[in-house]
Amino acid sequence: MCAAASERQPNTRLVGTSMPTLEAAEKARGRVEYMGDLMVPDMAHAKIVRSPLPHARLVSIDASQARALRGVVCVLTRDEVLADPDVEPIYGFVYRDAPIVALDKVRHQGDIIAVVVAESEAIAEEAVELVDVEYDELPAVMDTAAALANGAPQVHETFHPIAPELRPEEGTNICHHSILARGDIEEGFRQADFVYEDTYTAPPVQHCALDLHACIASVEGGKITVWTNCQSPFPLQRELERMFKMPARVIVPHVGGGFGSKSRDRMEVVITAAAKLARRPVRFVLSQEETFQTFIRPAYRGTVKTGVKKDGTVTARQVTFYVDVGAYAISGARSANNTLKVATGPYRVPNALVECYAIYTNKPPSSPYRGLPTTQHTMAYETQFDRIARDLGIDRVEIRLKNMVEDGDIHITGDYLRSTHAKEVLQQVADGLNWGIPAEPDPSGAKLRGKGVGATIKYTLTPPRLMSENEAEIALGEDGIFEVRIGTVNIGQGSDTTMAQIAGDALSVGLESIRMVHSDTGRVPVDSSTTASRSTFHMGNAVVNAADKLRADVIDAASHMLERDAGALTFSSSGVIVADDPGTGVGYDEIVEQAGAGFSAIGDCVVGGTFSAPDGNEYPIASTFWTFAAAGAEVEVDTQTGEVTLVRASASANVGTAVNPQSILNQLEGGISMEMGPTLFEQMVWDEGGQLLNAALVDYPLPTMETMPDYRPAMVEHPYPGGPFGAKGMGEIGSVIVPGAVLNAVYDATGILFHEVPLLPHLVLEALDAKAAGA
């Protein structure tokens, strides 16, 4: 585990102070540059020729007319890719299955066939229309059931997983199948008085980060430079270097949201190939409509089977889930596999069996989406819990508290759980809802009102084996400023501010002495990604570690200058001082001047391995930390229209130490807002021929200020052993808990347990009618 920085008390107390982000004023001035604002000299523009069909063999591509158009620089097709011996044509650092451009067939509507590079976007757009493609259409599999059917057409004929935990099944569309088991599932069901089984589904949705995916690639002098708004600059750098066999640098500006969609984008390798052919920098912006064909939150289908005693004690839980990773499993298979760890919820499940299937289909490639599919697992086991509670006549909060994990419990992964506080979190949410007092009935009777809760457990991205991929560098220059160099992408979550707060406290200096440098592989040390709520914990620890190392070097230099023992010296906001004689000291700038050179240190955070528990045993670490969270919802169901309104939404999480408390509450609000869309009205819809029907925002409603519930965000703080000053991550958790709580509130209001989202008015009306007819 990482250094026990949590045991140290900060001096300057930046950690724990709510503050607007360091860049808030520049953002309010409209001066922060996003990817779409960047230009480089002599740049050309790319547009993409895309497949109109979901599945087809490529017979021929004729780009001669496009190449002949005035202003066209070049057209990249499979011929150019395959003709270049220095280009590896297949991309994917988790699953290597996505070609730069289609080589033999297209696998989804919008699949990339060619890239046109021209002097302007308008010319490139015109030339795209001139590329003539001949297809031999193949039958498509548009959902997991079709993909698993006997004799289903295969989306991929061969499998190339990179991450060691991925296990495809040859000859099928199953690109990954895995099982996590604990105890004896059969015995667990035998011990049960009742067994419940429910199947839940959720369709694909879109992230809709407003900052459009864009990049500029340049291949010059045997070097690649890519500017992009991605969430994983270092894995991308390595992938570029492998594919193009030359050094690469990836530079990430401020990013306007990603929510997972920018974590495994492949546009950068496509545009790099185009830039290499064009021998000029090439800029590409993915349009809003194109994002709908490029990465989507995958469809989910999951079955939960739970055995319970009469008193509500869970004896066994079996979860089988299918994630539709679409045409390319770039990272979707691994995301699905990671959630094996949390599919049984924040509960004591002595006998568990969890089975994950990641399935190729002819939908667009899937992408992580703020905690997915933990969100869908939570929806499944939490709504089933309400059904059980209702049947057994046990209070819905009570049944959860009865089964909820506590410190010292062994999770289904074998992890020894600590600093859980899951019950406190749930209790806080229940109190916020005035639990025990039923929702006040609508006087007119036209609306049904109800309350519901849901609780969850979320992992963070933790490698299956010991590795160090999280480094931070802190440098002290002649201006006396500490420059903190980190790979974390400042995507809107305020990571520069969080890290500056942690660095300031670790160094005992104020924010005025800190300068942040982020997300440029040429200027900062390695970091695996800004995903999975991992940065505060992992990068925060690396920053503390770097600060410790730097402090030792700087104090050593100051000890010579002050002619005092290093042990007598300490850091302060103005410089190194004598601890018991604060008037004596030397400024940081003077130390650098005397030393004749700046100081710098790299710190890291090694994750994985095992944990030595107080019971003397070693336990595996399947997640460096677990986040426990709960949500409460109050809804109103209009019996005339079927419309469900989320009136009030509370949420709470155990965040460890809150580094920037207000920013945590805002993350919870934002998470609730984002997920209420897919819960109540968002979904992507395809027709039977595999054509997407609602790719434009005009046809795809998003949450607005008008759909905003009355938020009641809250948190519980218990410094987490091993976290930087006790902090852990929470960026996704506000979303994860929403659908379960909302479905339970609707269940409370109507007596109808829905097994799918979104809760579209016509579904609700049909269910209300059916219930009335049944009664």
Partner: protein, 155 residues
């Protein structure tokens, strides 16, 4: 064709092709990149600017349609005495996270507060309901607009 417009107080004559949108004119011709783009269909509100004080989607107007008008973009909010109270309110009330929708949100808020200096919560929600934010969940934006209204009403 030539259009003349006043952008953030400065009058400009510029030659543009007839299909040039106001958004392109602002971002590409005048280099005012604070105005953002996303949906290009007048839905998301990221490109909201003021034309003679009224909030409009710059992506959905041709440059020719604003000929002779006075345009305010985010770059025109800050005055000689510093940040506009709306900008300060968005910073102080955590009305922004990634910042991408912020210029459009602030200009929409300016238009609202000029029409209605003391809007109720419901009036703010109805007026601001057209602009999309994916990060904040809107509560911080609502608080920011309320705070800005308070500051502005105190003069």
């Amino acid at each position: 064709m030539q259009v003349s417009l006043t952008v953030n107080g400065q009058t400009t004559w510029i030659d543009v092709p007839p299909e040039r949108t106001l958004l392109q004119l602002l971002r590409d011709d005048l280099g005012l990149k604070g105005t953002k783009d996303y949906c290009h269909s007048g839905v998301c509100g990221a490109c909201t600017v003021l034309a003679d004080g009224a909030a409009v989607s710059a992506c959905s107007l041709l440059a020719a349609q604003v000929n002779g008008k006075s345009i305010t973009t985010v770059e025109g909010l800050e005055g000689p005495d510093g940040l506009h109270p709306i900008q300060q309110a968005f910073i102080d009330n955590f009305g922004l996270q990634c910042g991408y929708c912020t210029p459009g949100m602030m200009l929409l808020a300016k238009s609202l507060l000029e029409e209605n200096p003391a809007p109720s919560r419901e009036e703010i929600i109805r007026y601001m309901g057209g602009n999309i934010c994916r990060c904040t969940g809107y509560a911080g934006i609502l608080r920011s607009v309320q705070a800005a209204a308070d500051t502005l009403s105190k003069g």
